[in-house]
Symmetry: C2
Subunit: 129 residues, 2 copies
DNA sequence: TAGACTTATTCGGTTTATTGAATATAATTA
DNA sequence: TAATTATATTCAATAAACCGAATAAGTCTA
């Protein structure tokens, strides 16, 4: 594995990034770790499909996962990958803002989003009074 | 073409870089433009093979070419691609020096190398006298 | 333990990339 | 114009990636 040519090891990184769905997934993971069903809701891909792409990212060493009850939370294990992506974005003249154009579902069923929603509702309940 | 998803346009860049031979070629073009036979001599790939990979790089908008007599000289049209490569290299902990590990042939038949060799011989002729 | 829920894996058909071999094209020189 | 040189393209076989469908594997709750 480490006796591989440099160019081949480099190529492996780029190969992991050469797929739109995987880039979308990484973009979702830019700010925080997230469970698969969160990505499912926000990206609109099927669960199995996302899981397949996550496997590629995991095998490339770009993401790690952690189980918490029912959910498995993925996070970027190599944050420098975002330097790569941002650099490529700059080459295309794409501003970083347009990156957040992922579908924002009316309601994400994932526990993290549910918790946040509950917090907000409690918040507005307080402010309403 | 420009109505493509951002992630798809990004993916295209990475797709062009996902191949070891193409990375080797870009590495040769890092310092200067070079003809195909120069790459052939320095990388050890067949001419047609290099030409095929150059076509991929050209279609990805990463290199441009210019004819000069018999030779066609290729150059990197988007130098920021080296930021990408260097960034990926950093992720792997590969120093930039090892990048220059391309085969150094005893004699490169390309006109640019021939010119340089002649200059050197003239030089040593002078110093010999 | 049964059932519900989330995520992973396997299988198979389709598409795309790779790459060697042969050949074509374009510029140059004699 | 014919021969030469450098490069590009085409073809075909193999390999790899893609991705939908079905199903398996963990984990939690009742």
């Amino acid at each position: 594995m480490s006796d591989m040519q440099d160019s081949e090891r480099l190529a492996r990184i780029f190969k992991a990034l050469m797929h739109p769905a995987r880039l979308d997934i990484l973009e979702i993971l830019r700010d925080d770790e997230h469970c698969v069903c969160h990505m499912e809701a926000h990206l609109g891909y099927r669960q199995a499909y996302i899981s397949q792409q996550l496997t590629v990212l995991r095998e490339a060493g770009l993401v790690d996962d952690r189980r918490d009850g029912w959910n498995i939370f993925y996070r970027v294990s190599e944050p420098r990958v975002f330097n790569l992506i941002d650099q490529a974005r700059a080459m295309l003249g794409i501003s970083g803002d347009t990156a957040r154009a992922a579908t924002q579902p009316a309601a994400c069923p994932c526990p993290k989003c549910a918790a946040r929603k509950n917090a907000h509702e409690k918040q507005s309940l307080v402010t309403d009074v």
